[in-house]
């Protein structure tokens, strides 16, 4: 089992899918000759040529739109946003064209839009976005957000093979920070299934992306106090694994929802609302959400550190719930 970083996992998923299926191609800014701003697509142009690894002008509308058009013709484009923040520039195309093909027109639109997301790297307000909530109330997309190298590879392959447009959110903080031994053989991680990262019975932490490691840290500390925490890595935001969420809460009766995007209007609100409706009888304490502050991501390290969720914020919430 070769040891791959989260970034290697993304690169190899693209390479393997492009080798497996000639309909798959990559399109974006500096993805070819340069191999991507983070070198995510390093080597692909040499292997698959400029026809299948397309360097574009700085035009997110055109990138997403052209990918959508190609997808309708049976191709399987991967559209890269150099930073996921710039997906806002193609927002209209993605929610109004790409996402509506099935419901309105019965057209398959098999495409992936992916790019580096998330904070913790001092990227400032325009290079730290967690975009999931922007798309949750605009039906038609699938949304995934891997937190491990294994899921990064398996979910990207699943996204590429999916017949719907999939927003694939990769966390740039994890690119080179985590390495895992991944199976040599082809595998996918099904979209829509959560991963019970850690089994527990006293408290559920529902999270995804880079925050799974914050949840781990908190769970380790609590374990020392004899508290058994269940950590759910949601992995898929849309569709999401409601069953796994409700089952866990039914068991632990206490839940913290942890995400990196700002609190208000974050994806965590939806999960809290589902629990408050469908697992109400199981709740022994309020539903807590730990998230970033309701402001843009500030650039200066002390500000960003204060802004982001962390172990201590989770522990404080956990202790409150456990004492409840």
């Amino acid at each position: 089992m070769p040891e791959l970083s989260y970034l290697d996992a993304i690169n190899s998923a693209m390479a393997e899918e492009m080798a497996r299926d000639e309909r798959v191609f990559l399109i974006g800014e500096d993805v070819g000759v340069y191999g991507g701003a983070f070198k995510t697509s390093a080597g692909l142009i040499d292997r698959f040529g400029p026809e299948r690894v397309i360097d574009t002008p700085i035009s997110e509308i055109a990138i997403i739109g052209a990918a959508s058009g190609a997808a309708l013709m049976g191709m399987r484009p991967i559209a890269e946003m150099q930073f996921i923040d710039f997906i806002t520039c193609g927002y209209d195309m993605l929610v109004n064209f790409s996402a509506m093909n099935s419901y309105l027109f019965g057209r398959a639109c098999p495409m992936v839009v992916r790019g580096p997301a998330g904070g913790g790297t001092h990227g400032g307000p325009y290079h730290s976005l967690n975009p999931e909530a922007m798309f949750m109330n605009r039906p038609g997309l699938k949304i995934v957000a891997p937190g491990t190298a294994y899921d990064a590879k398996g979910l990207l392959k699943a996204a590429i093979r999916d017949d719907n447009p999939v927003l694939y959110i990769e966390h740039k903080y994890l690119y080179r920070r985590i390495k895992e031994n991944l199976p040599e053989d082809d595998y996918i991680v099904p979209i829509g299934k959560a991963n019970i990262r850690r089994k527990g019975k006293d408290l559920t932490i529902l999270t995804w992306g880079a925050m799974i490691y914050v949840a781990d840290e908190a769970a380790d500390v609590l374990a020392k106090d004899g508290v058994s925490v269940e950590v759910i890595d949601l992995r898929s935001i849309l569709p999401f694994d409601e069953e796994a969420i409700l089952e866990s809460v039914a068991k632990t009766n206490r839940v913290i929802i942890l995400h990196e995007a700002p609190l208000t209007g974050g994806a965590g609100a939806e999960f809290a609302a589902r629990i408050a409706e469908k697992a109400f009888d199981y709740l022994d304490a309020p539903i807590k959400r730990i998230a970033s502050l309701d402001v843009p991501t500030p650039y200066s390290p002390p500000l960003e550190a204060f802004y982001l969720p962390n172990k201590d914020k989770v522990l404080a919430a956990a202790r409150e719930l456990l004492a409840y």
Binding site: I61, A62, G69, N96, R107
Partner: protein, 340 residues
Amino acid sequence: MTDVLTTTNTHGLSNEQLLEIDYYLRLTRTLEERLVALFRQAKVIGGLYRSLGQEGESVAAAYALDYKQGDVVQPLIRNIGSILVAGAKPSDIIKQYMAKADSPTRGRELNIHFGHPARDGFIGQISMLGDMIPVMAGIALAGRMQKKTLVTLAFIGDGGSSTGAFWEGMNFASVQKLPMVVIVEDNGYAYSTPTAKQTAAKTLADKSYAFGCHGVTVDGNDVLAVYGETKRSVERARSGGGVTLLEVKTFRLKGHAEHDNQAYVPKELIEEWQRKDPLARYEKVLMELGVATQDQFAEIQQRVRREIDAATDEADRSPMPNPADAARGLYIEDGYWEER
């Protein structure tokens, strides 16, 4: 009858083809008149948009494509004529306007917003103007990757050509030298906004300089001229010559939609352009060329009326959607679209 100068070069079209064009012109106009009648009977759901005076360019341009090679045309709301040429059924269009269950979108989306580029030879726009230009570029790109010889033909309005999506799509297509023709219709207005308030460019074709693509302007109410220029542009695109921005000068003789009395349009302008009616001009030329007689035109109009009557009856008879279906088909794998 009109006295406007009209070109007589038939660009190698056979008499059958020339008459077929007339058929599509009449089919378009008659279908729209029928839609107006249905609108007045409150059988049309939502707005009704007319192409009166623009049928010529809609039909002629679409007629320059080769659907057997996989060519794809993307109409705007006023290019009914284009999709009729591409093979859309009048009954489907009427059903769309009546939001019927067996309309192509099954009542989910309106007017001529429907079609599949790989199946139908046309794809309707979405409402967000400009968005289809990048999409059509992507269709052309896919065609090239798939070693097809297809060309895509996109329509955009004087107004739509102000959108960022239009600019980005044109620029991308031009850099990629894609097999694509974009017809920008200067029909005088974008809703109430005259073209002079839409752009300070001398002509809309001048936008081609910004993309480094070919730029041409043609009389949009001269059917044969539009056919000729489109054909030339399509062949150039097919043979690797890249993108053409083809400006057609025409005029929107009705308001933006039926509710709009176009009070903001000077009467003289309307009268001037009524004299330039593309159908009258086209039929005049065909008669001058001895291609057709009044009787033949009359026959065509009878045939058209029969077809529209039949289409209307079919649409009238077809059911409204089953309410609960609204919950289905968000993701393609749910199978909703395979049914029936």
